[in-house]
């Protein structure tokens, strides 16, 4: 068995995994009948359909070919930096406040660019802090902790 399109093959596997997972988790709930559908009815139906579609997609990715289509390499650096930046923002906001969270987000994320420049990032930090203050805190009056908890009384 050869794979001619790795993108299709793996997409199919992913869909099958989701389809099966939803079917398995649905078993906790009552199925009911068509006339009196229980909470498990529709998700089980859809889960089965998704598993089937996934199988078809993977199957269509199989076959012999001279030039198989590969999945583009993963940009681990870019993925992990952006992930880390978002997590850091969410983790710092409740206790350390929006100012710290903004600075943390920008300085974790910015170096992900291939032409990261310290000066530009410094300027944009100042601009974004001012803009966030004017738009989100003053303008839209969004509710978030402003300063770190230990400074704010």
């Amino acid at each position: 068995m050869q794979i001619k399109n790795y993108r299709d093959f793996w997409a199919g596997i992913l869909f099958m995994a989701f389809g099966l997972a939803f079917m398995v988790f649905s078993r906790e709930y009552t199925m009911g009948t068509a006339a009196k559908m229980g909470p498990a009815y529709f998700p089980t139906l859809l889960g089965a359909l998704l598993t089937l579609l996934g199988a078809v997609i993977s199957f269509l990715g199989l076959g012999k070919t001279e030039k198989p289509v590969h999945v583009d390499p993963t940009g681990w650096r870019e993925v992990s930096t952006i992930l880390l930046a978002v997590i850091a923002f969410a983790a710092t906001l409740p206790s350390l406040g929006i100012i710290v969270a903004i600075i943390v987000l920008i300085w974790i994320a910015a170096p992900a660019s291939h032409d990261f420049k310290v000066r530009d990032t410094l300027i944009s930090t100042v601009v974004l802090l001012l803009l966030s203050y004017l738009v989100f805190v003053k303008g839209l009056e969004l509710q978030f902790p402003f300063l770190p908890k230990f400074l704010d009384r």
């Binding site: 709930y29 889960g47 997609i57 992930l83 930046a85 978002v86 903004i102 994320a109 839209l140 009056e141």
Partner: protein
Amino acid sequence: MDILFGNLATGFSAAATAANLFYCFVGVFLGTLIGVLPGIGPLATIAMLLPATYKMTDPTSALIMLAGIYYGAQYGGSTTAILVNLPGESSSVVTTLDGYQMARRGRAGPALAIAAIGSFFAGTVATFMIAAFAPPLAEVAFKFGPAEYFSLMVLGLIAAVVLAHGSVVKALAMVVLGLLIGLIGTDVNSGVARFSFDIPELSDGIEFVAVAMGIFGFAEIILNLEQREHREVFTSKVAGLMPSASEFKQSVFPIIRGTALGSFLGILPGGGAVLSSFSAYALEKKLSKTPERFGKGAIEGVAGPEAANNAGAQTSFIPMLTLGIPTNPVMALMVAAMMIHNIQPGPQVMTSNPTLFWGLIASMWVGNLLLVILNLPLIGLWIKLLSVPYRVLFPAILLFCCIGAYSINNNVFDVFMTIPFLVLGYLFKKFDCEPAPLLLGFVLGKLMEEYLRRALTISRGDPTVFFTRPLSATLLVIAAVLLLLVLLPAISKRREEAFQGD
């Protein structure tokens, strides 16, 4: 006809209040801004601003502003396409083909002018189309029972699949996965919190904004960073804006054809700006006596698609306003915006909230007028903006998305919730799966289950109810025909060509 003008008068008097004019301006200004900037689209922007509309007392203002972002982005996107050879929006991908070539020959000004004029003409026609077609469609919608609504959603989702790029089977799978993710949360009938794994926040379901930001916002940023773009901006080349007489003559019919095609494709489920511009480009190339000029700076290749994408963006409001069913992700957000203000989208909106309904429609024409002013005389401002490098831009986008996600419930849970969707969105891109159908499925998941349940309860479990009721059967037959057509090899080949655009 008299009723139509009476309705439009209601609309214009609602749209012309100082507050609504202001929000309309804010909307189209922001729309142009994010349209010009590659890497951020109307979807992420509307999602970011959605929580902010809680604060607005008048839902009409909120919708006017959000709508302005969508069609405003169509104008802004063409500027970037013509000057930088990068699509500012996905709907201006085809504009890069000929618009950029015109810019290289020193005709950037006329290309920008024709794009704006074509868009304005299309916007005007589309405004009247909505005013004329929405009321009769809403009449039909009142006759719908649960079986019809279910079949209509099936048709809508199938049409979205048919019109998506790439593999049909993958798009179908994306829709089904979206439906399933949409089911997460408390089941309204039994009160059971499904797939929530005892996480209290999950029992309310996943926020649409978190899904949209993760899949469209964050995953897009990562992919842009991987690509390491290089830009070449033709800033100094925008000398005169006035097209020559022959350029005008060449553009008249493409603009009219683009408007007609875009207005029609916009109404279709899954349609909207992107499909319209691609199809209009293919049409102009086909009709041209000199197709070899396309891709080398043919003004028809700018005029047709630019008119079409604006017309399509506007007429895609018709199904949302009359049936309450979103046909593309942006419309799904508009539905969410209405629900925030306790307005249940559907055919009753026209009669229960006439100033909102007609005010929104009238504001589109006002917005288009503002856009012409914003885009032609102020073109220099947008060119300046294009010189902002992506390395400065993306942390800002990231920040606004995070704040947007947080402000839905003033809770960082929704920010954390974007992470699984970031990962999913990234994987789907790598596996060539178009994410838009997933988002549509996500919005419709619970509604579809509810209508299925009601229809089957009424019929006592007999599934033939969907085929014995004539309206429902017609909708399902159309869906089946669409699906069959697209699976036929001959058509699917033509479809690939249309989406590749050249």
